[in-house]
């Protein structure tokens, strides 16, 4: 077969551009930015055929590429996407374009390294979602840590070193145990790292539970689930705007993606046995972290906690094991990718002007930045799940699924609508509405064309997905059914 290797292109084009950009010195900042944008747009362009050529009727892996990589351990360069992963590749390529645009002016130091870090990270993330070989997955999964560590540490806020190291070590802890789990499965499957082979591998209950624990540590840290979420607020607060956006929009999804690619289909019996535990943790994230978010005085921290709460919704959707729940969770992941990226970019817009993230320093921004205020209004509404925004679709589906599963779980999950509204709208009110709080706010300039473009692209995505979610859900349908079939079949 000589079809175009779209997946490889979507991985390697951004990385290649990242390396080229890296070769420039900072004297050529303008060229660096254009080159980076070109790379990001090309990256998006080569991932579009993945959607347009996608066959929604089958749950099989599409756009497969296979070549031997390390025969010594039977590790292969095996790529492919199903209805679940293809959406994340698109989301990632899209967000990368926005991040490059968002860092256009606000990054003045080491522009080349900044842009290169994001481009390389984008390629690596596409690799994570496309990998069908566990070791390939692991290599991409771990490699993303390096650029993110540098992004937080080099361009971050005052406490950046602490946040960067915490981020790195926290994630490494989980993934090292996952590596041991991979090697265990390699041994048990008679020398295969193929994820699809592992889906069929029978396993006894005890190994399933232990493997589940190893995967849980790796993925729960990434999601992040309560109580291993504490790295996230630090990382978000200290990271530069682009870093926060990618972190919230894509990196957190790696954890949730790991659950559906590894834990659920490979360890169905352990998943069922531990569902209560997972649901409890998810509900704590939704309710408790929702309350924590209300009390925040730092905008970025507030959005970070709101991310934890929303991701709690995602894991809840997975572990109630019905189509509503899983599809809702996936929609929620995509939607959260748009909304959280948008909110972080909004905070970035204000931070570029005021150099403060404190809610108390703001007030009455609507008087000086009306265009910005109305766009941010939309994202705030989406964050609390208003109908006709993308936030509503996923939350509604998960709550429906949870109600079917158990009334009280559904009831507790639904409180997110209250808490979400409370923390988001209260923050929005304090920052945007009211009288002009101080001279700095009075001196604010409304967003320029570039910022407007970035935010309105996101606004279109949020609205489009909210009004007409079918293009997203129909892609994932077959794959979700396949996943549920795997889950229903015991492997004991």
């Amino acid at each position: 077969m000589t079809s175009t290797p779209w997946l490889s292109l979507s991985i390697w084009i951004p990385i290649l551009f990242g390396l080229v950009v890296l070769a420039f010195s900072d004297r050529h900042a303008a060229q660096v930015r254009q080159m980076a944008l070109l790379g990001a747009v090309l990256g998006l362009a080569v991932s579009l055929p993945l959607y347009s050529g996608f066959n929604t009727q089958t749950s099989a892996m599409q756009f497969s590429e296979f070549s031997s990589w390390i025969p010594r351990f039977n590790i292969n360069y095996h790529l492919g996407v199903d209805g679940i992963s293809v959406l994340f590749i698109l989301l990632n390529s899209f967000i990368t374009v926005l991040v490059v645009l968002a860092g256009w002016e606000s990054i003045k130091q080491r522009v080349a390294q900044y842009m290169a870090a994001f481009l390389i990270m984008s390629g690596l993330l596409n690799g994570v979602f496309a990998a069908l070989d566990a070791m390939l997955f692991y290599v991409f999964f771990e490699a993303t840590l390096i650029p993110m560590y540098l992004v937080i540490g080099v361009w971050g806020g005052p406490n950046r070193v602490y946040a960067a190291v915490k981020f790195f070590l926290y994630t490494l802890l989980g993934s090292l145990l996952m590596l041991v789990a991979f090697l265990y499965l390699y041994d048990k499957s008679g020398g295969s790292f193929s994820i699809l082979d592992w889906h069929k591998l029978p396993l006894a209950m005890t190994p399933q539970i232990l493997l589940f624990a190893a995967f849980f540590l790796a993925f729960a840290v990434k999601v992040p689930m309560w109580p291993v979420h504490t790295w996230l607020p630090d990382a978000h607060v200290e990271a530069p705007t682009g870093g926060s956006a990618v972190l919230a929009a894509i990196l957190l999804k790696l954890g949730a993606y790991g659950f559906i690619r590894f834990s659920l289909p490979m360890l169905p019996d352990a998943s069922h046995a531990l569902a209560g535990f997972m649901i409890t943790l998810s509900l704590i994230a939704v309710v408790y972290i929702g309350l924590v978010a209300i009390a925040q005085t730092d905008m970025k921290k507030l959005i970070a906690y709101s991310s934890v709460a929303h991701m709690g919704f995602v894991t809840l959707g997975f572990f109630i094991f019905n189509a509503y729940g899983v599809e809702g969770a996936l929609v929620q992941m995509i939607s959260h990718g748009f909304v959280s990226a948008a909110l972080f970019l909004c905070v970035g817009v204000m931070y570029d002007r005021m150099h403060s993230r404190n809610i108390a320093d703001y007030g009455g921004v609507v008087n000086t930045m009306p265009k910005f205020a109305s766009l941010m209004m939309l994202f705030a509404m989406a964050n609390c799940g208003l109908p006709a925004t993308s936030g509503f679709v996923g939350e509604f589906m998960v709550i429906m699924g949870a109600l079917k599963h158990n009334f009280w779980i559904g009831f507790l999950a639904a409180t997110t609508l209250v808490f979400g509204a409370a923390y988001t709208l209260w923050m929005y009110k304090r920052v945007i509405f009211g009288a002009v709080a101080n001279d700095h706010v009075a001196a604010l300039k409304d967003i320029g064309a570039r910022e407007f473009l970035v935010l309105s692209l996101l606004a279109l995505a949020v609205l489009g997905m909210g009004v007409y979610p079918l293009p997203f859900t129909e892609v994932m349908h077959a794959s979700v059914n396949e996943l549920l079939k795997h889950l229903a079949a015991s492997k004991l």
């Binding site: 390390i70 010594r72 692991y138 290599v139 490699a143 560590y149 190291v165 041991v180 090697l183 390699y186």
Partner: protein, 491 residues
């Protein structure tokens, strides 16, 4: 009595090296300081010649195991591969050391002669098939290294390090000899293959044998530098001139690995149950001591010294997973993993100490961690190279250090020693912290020292190649893995 000429072919590289060292030693006497580079060129030429001869030997023997000198000397694929790696390591060390030693007035003939004699010792160790040959090689290596450590004789620190190294090294040699004599007592032979045969068939006295084994393993542990026999490492690494630290930290590890293979695997495989337990303790202790103590260091040479201890501990994991319940199926996997680990470790160490020397200049030793501050602002390229090296030591993909860890962990899991694998990864998590700290210093902090970094062309090309090799082998590790596997498989 008739005397038959032994087959010299397998020992051609050693013979050539000996001749050349003697030539260099004499020629150098008549050279004025400004022509010292001639000795350097001769040394590099010698290494090149050795490499060609080793390739030639492996070609002529068709990769078969060939014994000579009444079975005292063996030439096999593992030996050839390790020797080639040692030539590359020594040659690289020579390039890295050139400017550094010249700046300090240590660019003298002794350095070449001692270095090449040390290499000779390593080669004899690698090819030893007899306790005596092994011991001779080891002593030749050690004595050369003792002298090298004291190369800068006016430095109190170096002299102290050399004394410590010598006293402890002599003690370890004593332990080793004692162990060998006990095994001789039990089996009646010093020939390693005969020892293996005697243990398998002649049912020797188990108590004596086990005692001998304990001494042997202790002596070996000292040479490898694993806890609790690691005390000399930080002091020697710190005290020796960095060029010598680079030598000690790189190629001799290959020889020490060969020694472990010859003694434990070729000779005492039937006692695997006993020595595997010892290695478990040594390995876990080393990973604990190495990784925890490294965190507290402010001197990069000491930090890398503790990092060596932990890495050698990790390497032992590969050696101890080979035989499970008398089943050898795992052996080739496990031992080739350990070999891969050592080779990768040597490659990365060369680069790391090379960077330390790159940042040093006349009258200035870049040996504190703070000297790495803001390297990214001073030179993004070298910061990037160091970043690759550090992530490789930490075992983060896509660098080759990750595959080294992976290949060692895989046989552990296959041998049902999952708990040991978990312990190992937890310690490497701790280890990641101090490698990350170097990256942090280079990228997140502002430079203190703003002197320009102007290495010579050969140094700059080689260290870049070294760093990129860590990345390239990380993206395509198959060739090196297969080479290790192939050469161990043939044992």
């Amino acid at each position: 009595m008739n005397f038959t000429m032994p087959n010299l072919l397998p020992a051609y590289p050693e013979i050539f090296l000996l001749i050349m060292v003697s030539v260099i030693l004499v020629v150098d006497l008549f050279l004025p300081q400004r022509l010292r580079d001639l000795s350097y060129a001769l040394s590099q030429l010698t290494l090149f010649g050795c490499a060609l001869l080793t390739l030639d030997v492996s070609f002529l023997t068709e990769g078969q195991i060939t014994h000579t000198f009444s079975n005292m000397f063996v030439a096999d694929l593992m030996g050839h591969a390790l020797k080639l790696a040692a030539y590359i390591a020594v040659s690289t060390a020579l390039v890295y050391s050139r400017a550094y030693l010249a700046d300090r007035g240590l660019w003298k003939g002794e350095f070449f002669a001692l270095l090449l004699f040390a290499l000779m010792g390593m080669m004899v160790m690698i090819s030893a098939n007899h306790f005596l040959t092994l011991y001779l090689g080891l002593e030749l290596l050690s004595l050369s290294l003792y002298a090298l450590v004291a190369l800068n004789r006016d430095s109190a620190l170096s002299t102290e390090a050399a004394m410590k190294y010598f006293v402890l090294g002599a003690l370890a040699s004593g332990l080793l000899l004692y162990g060998m004599s006990m095994i001789y007592g039990a089996t009646g032979t010093l020939d390693i293959s005969q020892v293996a045969k005697a243990i398998a068939t002649a049912n020797p006295n188990k108590t004596v044998l086990t005692f001998g084994l304990v001494f042997l393993v202790s002596g070996m542990a000292f040479k490898l530098g694993v806890a609790p026999f690691h005390m000399w490492i930080p002091d020697v690494y710190h005290g020796a001139p960095t060029a010598v630290t680079l030598v000690i930290g790189s190629a001799p590890k290959l020889a020490a690995f060969a020694m472990a293979m010859r003694l434990l695997v070729n000779g005492l495989l039937d006692l695997a149950v006993d020595w595997q337990q010892m290695l478990v303790i040594l390995s876990v202790l080393s990973m604990a001591v190495g990784n925890l103590a490294a965190i507290a260091q402010t001197n990069i040479k000491r930090m890398l010294a503790y990092s060596t201890i932990s890495h050698m501990g990790f390497m032992l994991l590969g050696l101890l997973a080979g035989v499970v319940n008398g089943n050898w199926l795992n052996a080739a996997d496990a031992y080739s993993a350990a070999m891969f680990y050592v080779v990768v470790y040597v490659l990365t160490t060369l680069g790391s100490f090379g960077m330390v020397m790159l940042l040093s200049r006349a009258g200035f030793e870049a040996e504190n961690l703070d000297d790495f501050k803001g390297l990214n602002a001073r030179s993004p390229w070298y910061a990037f190279i160091m970043l690759l090296l550090m992530f490789s030591l930490a075992g983060v993909p896509p660098t080759v250090g990750f595959y080294a860890k992976l290949s060692v962990l895989q046989p552990l899991l296959a041998a049902d020693m999952t708990w040991l694998a978990v312990v190992a990864v937890l310690f490497s998590l701790i280890g990641a912290f101090y490698y990350l700290r170097i990256v942090k210093l280079m990228y997140f902090d502002e430079p203190i020292d703003t002197a320009p970094i102007e290495p010579s062309l050969d140094m700059s090309v080689l260290i870049s190649a070294n760093g990129l090799a860590v990345l390239a082998l990380g993206i395509l590790p198959q060739s090196l893995m297969a080479l290790c596997y192939f050469s161990i498989k043939s044992l």
